[in-house]
Every structure is written in C-alpha cells, then in structure tokens.
C-alpha cells in the first residue's frame, strides 16, 4: 500500500478504503516485507552424523508414523500426541538409540496449537534429538491441552511438566503431583500463552 506524498493531492482522486475488488486483490501486502528483506528460513546444517541418526530414528519409529525434520543442526521427530508414550518408550529402550537423558521440555504457543518439544540425549552414543508433538487448543479453555505425562519413563520430566502446567495450563495425565511450581498460589491465568495480557497486566 503505497503512500503518495506528492504535493498535488487535491487533484488526485483519493479512493477511500474500499472493499470493492481491485487489480491486486489476490496478493495481500505483508507488513513485515514492507521495508526489510523477505523473511528467510533457518539454515539446515545437519552433517553426516545427523543424517545417519535421522535414518536410524525414522527406521526405528516407522510403526508410529514419524515426520522427520531438521532444526539447524539437530534431528527433529514429530509424532501425533496419541503415539507420544510409545514413541518415548521406543526411543529410550531401543538398543541402537538409548535416549536415557531427558534434557528439557519446551512448550511453544502458536496461537491455534501448542507445540511440545522434548529435548533428549543419549549418554551412550552422544545422540541429541528433539521430539515434537502438537495439540490444538481453544483460547480460554482450561486445561489448555491434555498430554500424556512422560515422568514414568524419565523421572527428570517431573518438574518440567509441572512448570508447563503452571505457565501454559497443560494437563499431563498420569503425573504424580500436578501442583503449581513457579507462580504463587491464587495466580489466575496462564502467563506463558500468547493470549495473556502481558503488557496490560496490572496486579496493584
């Protein structure tokens, strides 16, 4: 949408903001590309070891229908949330993979769905992997999503799931102790969500 700042604005017919079809109706102008360079995607530098691991994992988990991906230099496995527990068990118990170390659980809010990223590590083979799963959620629902808990498979997942429950409102079914961890008692709302009024929040 070009802003014409020429002096003779009176002679031109200024069209008001109209919804009538115009010539470039199919192309919506993007706000981000108005001034800067177009948005690029992150580079994928997987390397030989990473590709071998990717093949190994996709072969090992082929029953559960994984979608393989790359996050700059790490292998990403995406599965449906129903297959999460069996996938996690397979990743931990398969003798060629042996992902015995649970690093982190990151919850990301993408407005229509929540994505859960489990970062796993194998101390035996020194493999690193990201296990992803996504759950649709409706704004304003509580709990926001229901995900099976992995705290029986990896006890280290305990507090990470509690934190995710606290900040995002996710219910992890099968978790032994789903109590608030970081926020004080009586806090209303889930501050991790994008819909939380972060800049308008006033408690005083």
């Amino acid at each position: 949408m070009e802003k014409d700042n020429s002096g003779s604005s009176e002679s031109e017919s200024q069209t008001p903001k109209d919804t009538s079809p115009s010539e470039n109706d199919g192309v919506k102008p993007q706000a981000t590309s108005r001034r800067g360079p177009p948005v690029q995607l992150a580079p994928e530098v997987l390397g030989g070891d990473g590709e071998a691991l990717s093949l190994l994992v996709s072969e090992s988990l082929s029953v559960y229908g994984p979608i393989m991906g790359v996050a700059v230099d790490q292998v990403v496995v995406q599965v449906a949330v129903e297959k999460l527990t069996v996938t996690a068990l397979k990743l931990r118990d398969d003798q060629r993979l042996r992902f015995n170390y649970f690093r982190c659980l990151a919850t990301v809010d993408y407005h229509q769905y929540l994505e859960f990223v489990y970062l796993l590590y194998s101390t035996e083979y020194r493999y690193q992997i990201m296990l992803k799963t996504s759950v649709d959620y409706i704004e304003g629902a509580a709990p926001t999503a229901i995900v099976p808990s992995l705290s029986e498979i990896w006890p280290a997942a305990d507090w990470h799931e509690r934190e995710s429950h606290d900040l995002f409102g996710v219910l992890f079914s099968g978790h032994p102790n789903m109590e608030p961890l970081l926020l004080y008692e009586g806090f209303e709302g889930f501050p991790g969500l994008k819909s939380f009024p972060f800049n308008e929040y006033e408690d005083w």
């Binding site: 981000t32 690029q40 992150a42 015995n100 649970f102 990151a106 961890l181 926020l183």
Partner: protein, 368 residues
C-alpha cells in the same frame, strides 16, 4: 502412657528467608525425630518471567536478561544465548573473539566455584574459607571491571562477538592473575578439604549413584561427582574448546564431598585452559559485521554450553522479526534441584543443609 508409641511426624519449614538455602527457597520437611521422611521443595520466589519478557524485547536486550539468570556466572549465560542466535544466523564469529570469550568464561567459572567453595564452607560451619575465596574473587572481578566496566552483569558478550576489544595489558594481567589464583586455590584446598570436621560432615552424606543421577536429570559437577563423564566442552565442543587439552574431574562415590571437590579440581583445569588460550590468541577483529537490527531467519535452534553449574541450554524459536518468538531456558540448577527429594529421604535433619549446599544451586536460574 500409651503402650504403643504413635508415629508423630513434624512438618518443619525451612522458609524462604534462611541463611543456608542459597537464595529464596523454601523446603517443607516432614521429619520423624531426627530423620527426614519427606521433603517438599517450593520454588518460584524469584520468578521474574524472563522467558515471557524476552518475547517483547529485541535480541540485544535479551542478552541482559540472560546475564541475570545465574547471577554468578554472567559471561557463561550470555555466551549461550549469543551462540543460539549465531547458530540461527550462521554468523562466523572471529577467532580472537572466541578466544577472549573462552578466557572470560573460564575466569568466571573460577569466580563462581570460589563462591560455591566459600558458601559451602559457611554452610558446614567454617567461617574462614569464605574470607579467602572472596578475596580471590575480588581479584577476578577487578579484572572484569577493567575489561567490561562492571563487576557483574557485564553485557559484554554480544551477538557476533564481543562489545569491544580488551585493554592492551589484558594478556599480562591475566597471566599475573593466574599465578596468584593457582596459589590461592591450593590455599583454599588445604584450608577445608581435609578438615576432620568437614570430612565427617560431608563424606558418605547424600550419596546418589550414576544411573539414578542420569535418570533424575542431574547435570554438571553433581553428575560428574557420581562418576558420569558428561561435560559439554568435551562431548559437544563449542566455540574453540576442541583446541585445548584439559582434564575433566570425575568423582567416585557421589557423596557431598565429591560434589564439593569436583569444582575444586575444575578450577585448576580452568587455569590450564586459560593458559593455553593466552598462548594461542592472536590479534584481529572482535565482532562480526552484522546489521544493526538483528533479525534471524525463521526457525528453531537449540544451543547449550557448560556453565559452572551444569549444562545450560537455550531453545530459541524465531519468527523472522527482531524479537524472539519463544526463548526456553533449560537451567542446570532446576534439574539438579529435582534430585533433592531422592537425596534427602532418610537422612538426618542436620544433613539437609549440607546436601542442599552441595548441589550448588542459584535460585536466579531455578526460577528464571
């Protein structure tokens, strides 16, 4: 009087304000006489919402938030975030910048371990070691002040390199400092490590095996004290750590004394690394040429480094704008603190402080 004695369990609160909880941390202990039956840790008193805040700040501003996560090892935290953004943007950081980053991070590791040594001695009842170790910390912080302008919260490691070059007498000053630090570390070692009372308070206390430590997610010196050789500098070298020849101290018993002595040896290895870095460093630029507004490509990245407390990881999601979409921090102290329940069950009440101190937690990064 009853013929059968009934079990009376008492709940004792080690409240958020306590000199030995290493920050604002609350433990509710359920004790039976002198034995701890169960513990319920309560964290969140220092939760500042750093992860949510970083979604509304530009990338250069987020570096200052990372400074304040583990407020004792500032350079190491800044380094992890800058590494994540540099990985996403495929930035070639100049070699001189990487060497200087390593020197500053290892000096910060020594400073952080000196603080752990001093406060752990204080927890056990020894009030002399903290005076010695903090005197040495002053030397390191003086050097930091001459380089960055601040004793803590430096905001010096920037995306692409460093903020500016170090003063001209930096190599000479670091060389002199290392000599003094070597003597001081030996002095601190003789002060506390073989003290009879300290040994009886920490030997055999809070034992955790290698398998259990890995399952519960421990990291850093407490994990290495249980015998597991896991150090990010060796298993997944970042910056230029594959050019250095250094040892990784590992404990044998997994008790509190091992968790105390592994950082002691790590300080000596840090001096070895800095000496090698000083030999290999050459002159050159200290920052890569980047645009003023840092706008990484769209995508997700995971970067991690070996902090004095363990493996600090950052999962960064970028949507192509100048502000991050999601920054998730994986704090080592958070993961180590999960082991508290397993460690404290069945021990004496007096050992609670010793075991908590040996985990070397900093609440700033536990709560973020």
């Amino acid at each position: 009087m009853n013929q059968e004695s009934s079990l009376v369990e008492m709940m004792i609160n080690m409240g958020p304000q306590h000199p030995s909880t290493h920050g604002v941390f609350r433990m509710v202990l359920k004790i039976d006489g002198e034995r701890i039956v169960d513990v319920e840790p309560h964290i969140g008193y220092l939760h500042r919402g750093s992860e949510k805040l970083s979604e509304s700040e530009t990338y250069s501003q987020v570096v200052t938030l990372f400074d304040r996560l583990d407020y004792v090892s500032n350079f190491n935290n800044e380094l992890v975030f800058c590494m994540a953004v540099e990985k996403l943007m495929s930035v070639d950081v100049p070699e001189r910048a990487q060497y200087l980053r390593i020197i500053l991070c290892e000096l910060n590791r020594i400073a952080s371990h000196l603080l752990f040594y001093g406060t752990y001695g204080l927890d056990a009842g020894a009030i002399t070691p903290i005076m010695y170790s903090f005197r040495e910390r002053e030397r390191i912080q003086n050097l930091f002040e001459s380089v960055t302008g601040a004793r803590m919260m430096h905001n010096f490691i920037r995306i692409g390199g460093l903020k500016e070059d170090v003063p001209t007498d930096f190599n000479h000053r670091v060389g002199e400092l290392l000599v003094k630090l070597s003597i001081a570390i030996d002095e601190c070692d003789t002060l506390l490590s073989q003290n009879e009372i300290f040994l009886s308070r920490t030997k055999g206390v809070g034992v955790i095996g290698a398998e259990e430590a890995l399952a519960i997610g421990m990291t850093g010196p407490p994990l290495r004290a249980s015998g597991v050789v896991e150090d990010v500098r060796a298993t997944d070298p970042y910056q230029l750590y594959d050019r250095f020849d250094f040892g990784i101290p590992v404990g044998t018993n997994g008790d509190a004394w091992d968790r105390y002595y592994v950082p002691m040896e790590e300080m000596r290895q840090a001096i070895v690394i800095i000496e090698q870095a000083l030999e290999q460093i050459e002159s050159g630029p200290v920052i890569a040429q980047l645009r003023r507004i840092i706008r990484p490509p769209q995508g997700a990245v995971f970067a991690h480094a070996e902090n004095p407390r363990g493996d600090l990881g950052v999962y960064l999601v970028s949507d192509g704008t100048n502000k991050p979409y999601r920054v998730k921090v994986r704090p080592p102290s958070f993961c180590n603190l999960q082991a508290l329940k397993t460690l404290l069950r069945g021990t004496y009440l007096a050992d609670a402080v010793i075991i908590l101190g040996s985990l070397d937690i900093i609440l700033g990064e536990v709560d973020r």
